[in-house]
């Protein structure tokens, strides 16, 4: 039919079709023209960069932490009941690793809060949320033995920390909290007796948070520094109602309350303590203190004291010896004014000086205070200063989203470099459920070397890091004695989490327990310097920090591929130095302090258990 049409008509039809085609094309183009994509808050906008963001490096360690809480027989739950939006309810709690029965396997104390602050004494005494003591069964499991061991602690406990207060060879325990301090003295057969009042520790009522054991006067007996948070006033909680949109009432805002003084208990060597903070000028009266750590930051042989304060500036007290402390916070440039919660110490970059890492509140980043002593030019009078290099080394900006708490340097992949763990959990109430706090995920950072700094390895560090908790305290220990470090985390109003380190185990390691004779029994403040594979590493016993928590007193070294330790030097707080050479790796040593200051010789006593890494 088309063929029968005259040519002219066919041409007209073609032309008309062309015109129609054009018009259709215009119509299609017009209909295809979508309005521009609506702007959405948080969308990726062209032209916004993140210079400081770091990708996972290709050589990240293939080590993951597995949540083995349940299989290890731990059923810890923090807090019983519903929050009443009062500050003490939200701040706890922590955990402390300590081998209280001396069997070579670390046991675990976990502090707990019984429940809401409005709870009656009767209710509190019935609360299931009591402090727990987990005895290590040496097979990867634990048994909760607190009551059997004589520790029935039901209150608003914040922290626990182990030390041998009477130098009788076993670890005693001090528990802090909203209330008063408790001392559980170890009678050596697996039971404890509460002697806080007898030891003159239990005196002052207050909001006692962090605690740090250290032999500040090097008299061979451990002394105790306790941080006071705020002078909490329950009246404020009752007055917090408002007709306005109060998301976070005054009763959970630490600024509302005046700072509480800190306490320093001098060990009088007779089973009692004397509180000397005021006399020694270390009360930090304005600081709302949460954590403290004893560490010899200026290298003068005396443990200095660094105090992390919430919504008030941190304080560094230099220990000049003879009981003289000097506040050098500003001069040393570590009077960090952000809201600090946890503090970690360690020589992360191997320059021979002890650095500080501090976790902060939201939108404040972490601080990585690099000790500048090693950079001080020779000739100049070495003055202790620090420099916050968090952004440069990858641990600053990443924490803007975090409220950080428990933290420590630890070599989780045994490569000879100190990595970082940081627990997070908000203090803000959930908008949809104000009785609960906003949960967050924690972070793991791998140390990629002194030049590169840290890389976040949470994504490949195990499922735990993908989950959200209201994290607070955290501490590490090699609880299964396999040569790598495991972690316990306490979550406010949530479960405790035991994280077992499961790595390929190709790297070598060494663990060292100290037994002081002239120095305090567990070697608090002893400095270890290990050289292996051409790399020197330092540890200071008991100088780990964290938040309301204490890691094991065993010094742990990752050795990388070095199977032999060239030298291990120990500077005892009592003054002696011991030097051991050509030690084999992958075992745990117990080293006893030599009776008198010596210039050599090794007193090496390898003890079981020491197994190769899995």
């Amino acid at each position: 039919m088309w063929k029968e049409l005259p040519r002219r008509k066919r041409q007209v039809v073609f032309a008309a079709a062309g015109g129609a085609l054009f018009l259709s094309a215009v119509a299609v183009a017009a209909s295809l023209r979508r309005p521009p994509r609506e702007y959405l808050p948080g969308e990726t906008v062209e032209g916004v960069t993140r210079d400081l963001a770091r990708d996972l490096p290709p050589d990240y360690p293939r080590v993951a932490f597995h949540d083995v809480t349940r299989s290890a027989g731990i059923a810890f739950r923090h807090f019983s009941g519903t929050r009443t939006s009062q500050l003490p309810e939200d701040m706890g709690s922590g955990a402390a690793w300590g081998d209280y029965d001396g069997d070579g396997w670390p046991d675990l104390f976990v502090a707990n809060e019984v429940g809401p602050l409005t709870m009656s004494p009767a209710g509190a005494s019935r609360s299931p949320a009591r402090c727990a003591l987990y005895h290590n069964n040496r097979d990867g499991t634990f048994t909760e033995v607190a009551l059997r061991a004589g520790i029935d602690h039901r209150g608003w406990a914040m922290a626990g920390a182990w030390a041998d207060v009477d130098n009788d060879g076993d670890l005693d325990l001090v528990v802090t909290g909203y209330g008063h301090l408790a001392l559980y003295r170890n009678d050596g057969n697996g039971t404890f007796a509460e002697e806080g009042r007898r030891a003159r520790l239990a005196g002052p009522e207050g909001f006692w948070t962090g605690e740090a054991w250290g032999d500040y006067d090097r008299d061979g007996y451990p002394d105790l520094y306790v941080t006071g948070y705020v002078r909490y006033d329950t009246l404020v909680a009752r007055a917090s109602a408002s007709r306005y949109d109060v998301e976070n009432p005054a009763a959970i805002n630490p600024s509302t309350f005046h700072g509480e003084r800190n306490l320093l208990f001098h060990n009088d060597r007779d089973g009692t303590f004397t509180e000397v903070a005021r006399r020694l000028g270390v009360t930090d009266p304005d600081g709302r203190s949460l954590s403290a750590v004893w560490a010899d930051l200026d290298g003068n042989g005396w443990p200095d004291l660094y105090v992390a304060n919430d919504v008030s500036d941190n304080v560094l007290y230099l220990n000049l010896g003879d009981g003289i402390f000097q506040d050098v916070s500003e001069r040393a440039q570590v009077g960090d004014y952000r809201s600090a919660m946890g503090v970690a110490t360690g020589d992360w970059n191997g320059d021979g000086t002890t650095d500080l890492f501090i976790t902060h509140w939201l939108a404040q980043e972490n601080a990585l205070y690099d000790n500048q002593l090693a950079q001080t030019s020779s000739g100049a009078e070495p003055a202790l200063t620090f420099r916050d290099e968090a952004d440069r080394y990858g641990v600053g900006q990443v924490a803007l989203d975090d409220v950080g708490w428990g933290t420590f340097f630890f070599d989780y992949d045994n490569d000879g470099r100190l990595d970082l763990f940081a627990v997070n959990g908000s203090t803000l109430q959930r908008r949809d459920a104000p009785r609960q706090l906003v949960p967050m995920s924690s972070r793991l950072f791998w140390n990629g070397g002194a030049d590169a700094g840290f890389y976040e390895t949470s994504r490949v560090g195990g499922a735990y890091f993908g989950r959200k908790y209201v994290g607070r305290g955290a501490a590490y220990a090699d609880y299964d004695n396999d040569g790598d470090l495991d972690v316990f985390v306490v979550n406010n109003g949530g479960p405790g989490v035991l994280l077992r380190n499961d790595g390929p185990g190709r790297n070598h390691w060494l663990e060292v327990d100290l037994r002081g004779k002239r120095s305090n029994r567990f070697g608090l403040g002893a400095k270890l310097r290990l050289v292996a594979g051409g790399r020197a590493q330092r540890r200071e016993v008991g100088a780990d920090g964290s938040y309301l928590s204490q890691s094991a007193l065993t010094a742990h070294f990752g050795l990388g591929r070095a199977g032999v330790i060239d030298t291990l030097e120990i500077d005892w707080p009592g003054g002696g130095r011991q030097r051991l050479v050509h030690l084999s790796a992958d075992r745990r040593l117990v080293i006893e302090e030599e009776p008198a200051p010596s210039s050599g010789g090794a007193a090496e006593a390898p003890t079981s258990p020491s197994r190769r890494a899995r």
Partner: protein, 691 residues
């Protein structure tokens, strides 16, 4: 039918007599030979080519001149085209419908629409402040229509004639056809020659994008503006004229309102703020003039990129930079920002329109015409999605100080951005719950501005007749008046309303709790016994601010509770936080502020942040947080009633700093704004009988 030509080449059967009389030649020959036809075709060729070039080729001087010439030629084309078109139509209307005739009709329609829409666009570009997108689209489509219709219309005939060239009778037609081609090409060629001449004749303002020859590269040649993190896309200097001239955005009826708003805003006086200048001067003297580049990135970008923050410049500023501070282009020219803040941005000079930088030129209206008629460059270079994002604001509203400045290292300072980001106002992906920077600080204003309307925001449309205010109301109710800016008093008045939470922002009203920005609530006993201690509790709540309250340089800003308790005789029984005759706040007041310290623990009290290493006192309220102050006094023995009045006071500058900057004798003091207040009576009565 005796011409000997095939039917398809034959004449119209009844050719109009008018054509017959004009010449003896064959009608087709006459049509091809007509000068008018060649003129019309030549002009149409130029219009089509220049139109396509304007549409398809990038912005350039040539394209701008083409816009002008395209418009002029289009106007000149109108009369001859209409005359030709009517005649041509009448000549062929009676012939049988062929594909040639049909494409002829298509051409007529397309050309007419193109002409008409071109006229409308020209009118809008001359008399309005922007052209309509619809007419612009019609014009572009019509242009393509012209090309799509006229080309086949002509080519069919030309090809058919060429195919018939073996026929003797076609000879004259082919000759005429060639002549038509030559003539129309010549017409278009003349137009293009004029275009070329105009392009060559244009003398743009020569910008001097060069740092002074004696400029001190204190931090290495690769970072001329360090320690500021601000960079230019070229890596080098930018002539102040390229970033300044903000006033010209408000001329010719364009962004008049926006310019007026900006003129009194803190962005505008960021550099001329006398307190900023005084602090900068001291910093230059104590710390080295190069270090003031740190301030320049956000306070005085024009001077920074001109190289004025240098040893050789006593004033550490450039006149344009001083006057305009954060000018229009200083913000709208930013191409990239980094979330670390502290002026971490990259700025680029936008390409300019003809005569745009030459404010005195008599050809100035040409600029206005071009921006409106050919707005693509103006819009794409100065308007961007990123301007909505809080990350853009973060470039300057997040500050730290680093070792280049304080020799100490990283110290965090004000950070509105991350404050906001982690606050209750931020719900990524949910605009209905989120309140971003611009939604508060740039509320919508009714407007005739050519930039009004926005279809990207969930609660706006492309023609909502509103623009975002460029007043950037914030916390400074002092400097606009102090500087005697035109409209400064009004800005201060609005800022006070803003601080009190009295400015209504209808478009976000459902997202927040109305009322004071920072309300206070007083709790006091109703009755007390004489001599008994009276406890007052005052709760302060950060209700509306999207960031800490207060925010900004907290070493300068003060907000405090003023408590006055009077007895029935009006005598003061108790006070806290009242100011003395020298404008100082009574010691011991409950106060939001910060006290930074230097490495010797000495107070940083002159905003000498270059010496700051820490902060010994800091109090502010995170969004949604509340704080509580307590006051205690003894109830007087002889009173019967007490009246408690509490006010939350705010001032931008503490008195000590003002005395330092302006001298104590000048008696300069910052105005105090009462943000919220509460009152209550207390009865004083002996407890005896009743209890």
């Amino acid at each position: 039918m005796s011409s000997g030509l095939p039917e398809s080449l034959q004449d119209p059967p009844r050719a109009p007599p008018v054509m017959r009389t004009s010449s003896d030649a064959h009608p087709r020959v006459r049509e091809w030979q007509s000068r008018q036809v060649a003129l019309v075709a030549g002009l149409l060729l130029f219009e089509s080519l220049s139109g396509l070039s304007i549409y398809l080729l990038p912005f350039s001087v040539t394209n701008q001149v083409q816009v002008l010439l395209h418009t002029a030629v289009g106007l000149a084309f109108l009369a001859p085209y209409l005359h030709y078109q009517i005649r041509h139509w009448r000549l062929y209307r009676a012939t049988r419908m062929t594909h040639v005739k049909l494409t002829g009709y298509f051409s007529m329609v397309a050309t007419t629409v193109a002409l008409l829409s071109g006229l409308v666009l020209s009118y809008q570009a001359v008399f309005w402040t922007r052209i309509s997108h619809v007419w612009d689209g019609v014009h572009v489509v019509a242009t393509f229509g012209v090309v799509a219709a006229v080309l086949p219309h002509l080519l069919i005939v030309v090809v058919r004639n060429l195919r018939a060239r073996h026929l003797e009778a076609i000879g004259p037609i082919l000759t005429a056809q060639r002549r038509f081609g030559t003539r129309s090409a010549a017409v278009a060629g003349v137009a293009f020659v004029v275009l070329g001449a105009a392009v060559l004749a244009y003398r743009p303002v020569r910008l001097v994008d060069r740092l002074p020859s004696d400029y001190h590269y204190a931090y290495g040649g690769g970072a001329p503006f360090a320690p500021s993190l601000a960079r230019t896309s070229s890596g080098g200097a930018i002539d102040p004229r390229a970033l300044g001239g903000s006033q010209s955005c408000g001329t010719a009826g364009c962004h008049v309102e926006i310019t007026k708003e900006w003129e009194v805003s803190a962005h505008r006086y960021a550099a001329k703020d006398p307190s900023f200048r005084a602090v900068q001067r001291v910093m230059g003297e104590q710390n080295g003039p190069e270090t003031t580049r740190y301030c320049g990135g956000c306070h005085d970008p024009i001077s920074l990129f001109a190289g004025a923050k240098d040893l050789s410049q006593d004033a550490l500023t450039n006149p344009t930079g001083l006057d305009e501070g954060v000018s229009c282009i200083a913000c709208h020219g930013i191409q990239e920002t980094d979330i670390k803040g502290n002026a971490a941005y990259v700025i680029a000079q936008p390409k300019r329109y003809l005569f745009e930088l030459d404010a005195d030129s008599t050809f100035r209206p040409v600029r206005d015409f071009l921006i409106r008629a050919y707005p693509r460059q103006h819009v794409t270079s100065l308007e961007h999605r990123r301007f909505k994002s809080p990350e853009f604001c973060a470039a300057c509203h997040k500050q730290f100080i680093d070792k280049e400045i304080n020799n100490v290292g990283w110290v965090q300072l004000q950070n509105q951005y991350d404050n906001w980001r982690k606050s209750r106002w931020n719900h990524p992906g949910d605009p209905r719950k989120t309140v971003e920077c611009r939604e508060c600080h740039m509320p919508l204003e009714s407007s005739d501005d050519p930039a009004s309307g926005d279809e990207l925001d969930y609660n706006r449309t492309a023609d909502d007749g509103k623009h975002r205010s460029h007043r950037f109301l914030g916390g400074n109710q002092f400097i606009p008046v102090q500087l005697r800016l035109a409209g400064g008093a009004e800005q201060a008045r609005l800022t006070e309303k803003w601080l009190r939470g009295e400015i209504r922002i209808p478009e976000i009203e459902e997202k927040w709790r109305p009322g004071p920005a920072v309300p206070i609530e007083l709790s006091a006993p109703r009755t007390v016994a004489p001599g008994e201690p009276v406890h007052l509790g005052v709760m302060v709540l950060n209700n509306k601010p999207g960031h800490d309250f207060p925010t900004g340089p907290l070493d300068i800003i003060q907000s405090w509770l003023e408590v006055v308790v009077t007895d029935e005789g009006g005598r003061r029984v108790f006070t806290s936080g009242i100011t003395d005759a020298r404008h100082f706040i009574e010691p011991g007041a409950f106060i939001f502020k910060a006290e930074p310290v230097d490495r010797y623990g000495k107070l940083i009290d002159r905003h000498n942040l270059w010496e700051m290493v820490g902060v010994r006192y800091r109090r502010s309220l995170f969004p949604g947080f509340s704080d509580r102050a307590e006051f205690t006094f003894a109830a007087p023995a002889r009173s019967s009633t007490l009246h408690v009045s509490v006010r939350l006071q705010y001032r931008k500058f503490n008195q000590f700093l003002l005395n330092e900057l302006f001298g104590e004798t000048e008696d300069v003091t910052a105005p105090i704004t009462t943000l919220s207040s509460a009152e209550q009576g207390i009865r004083v009565a002996a407890r005896g009988g009743r209890e």
